[in-house]
């Protein structure tokens, strides 16, 4: 059950700086952990995060194994117009997930 949560303000004034919080379920296995039998648990992480606002990229991030499990990132953008904010995550083993929320700008 891939689960992600994008949180933005319910509405914003044009030109207002708003905060976007993005949370996604992922174990972010570092590749450095071993089982109690000494076997390395293979790396499995999200490596890329991209956020677009009505199709235009406004923020992106590269994640390395040092980003915690269930990665969280909070950033800001200027509310220019109503529309859609879309967050995409991609990573090892062909992982990819996309989630969108509507933004109301008055």
């Amino acid at each position: 059950m891939p689960r992600a949560l994008i949180t933005i303000p319910a509405s914003a004034r044009r030109g207002e700086i708003i905060e976007i919080k993005a949370l996604v379920a992922h174990e972010m296995e570092t590749g450095f952990r071993r089982t109690q039998y000494g076997v390395v648990i293979p790396r499995n992480i999200i490596t890329q995060f991209v956020c677009t606002y009505n199709g235009v990229e406004i923020f992106s991030a590269d994640f390395h194994p040092a980003i915690s499990a269930n990665p969280y990132v909070a950033f800001s953008t200027i509310a220019t117009e109503g529309g859609t904010i879309t967050c995409s995550w991609a990573g090892d083993n062909g992982y990819s997930h996309t989630e969108s929320v509507a933004i109301r700008v008055g």
Binding site: I17, Q36, F59, P65, A66, S68, V73, A74, T77
Partner: protein, 166 residues
């Protein structure tokens, strides 16, 4: 190789760190003893500097403008909340292009790269990171004029008392 398995700091590496080729970043040599049971893999000074060089190239890294908000003593090294803020007006001609985060004593030096831009409005980003040991976290920002600025924060990390089997 030292008896506890950590890499001996070479004279060259020490000079690189001490000689200020990457000015303004306090990176202490990896001479601290590894606690029993902790991961023996640490990036070390050379690898951290190399990772920074890969991002920054030959440009000097100035000290300032970057503030890291990190707990001084973490509740748990698996998820340490980090906020990085940069002193920047964030106008179309003067803004933060990217923020890069590094550690020295994690197995790998790179933590994350965040790409902002003038549309961000505010020069700040928050996330949660893993810290393998007590160490210094380094954040380097790249401004629109091509200059690099850095800030650091020291964090103390302990192990949980009652662990379960993996």
């Amino acid at each position: 190789m030292k008896p506890d398995g950590t890499k001996q700091t070479t004279r060259r590496e020490f000079l690189l760190a001490a000689g200020g080729m990457v000015a303004g970043i306090a990176i202490e040599p990896a001479t601290a003893a590894t606690p029993i049971g902790a991961s023996r893999t640490t990036a070390g000074v050379a690898a951290t500097l190399q990772a920074i060089r890969k991002i920054v190239g030959d440009a000097p890294v100035n000290k300032g403008k970057v503030t890291l908000d990190l707990p001084e003593l973490v509740d748990n090294g698996n998820a340490v909340p980090l906020t990085v803020r940069v002193d920047s007006p964030m106008t179309p001609t003067d803004y933060v292009k990217a923020i890069h985060v590094f550690t020295q004593k994690n197995p790998l030096p790179d933590v994350a790269t965040f790409r902002l831009g003038a549309r961000a409005g505010r020069a700040g980003v928050a996330t949660r990171m893993r810290l393998a040991d007590t160490q210094t976290v380094i954040a380097i920002c790249e401004l629109s004029d091509g200059t690099f600025w850095s800030g650091t924060a020291d964090v103390v990390v302990t192990l949980a008392a009652c662990l379960e089997e993996l």
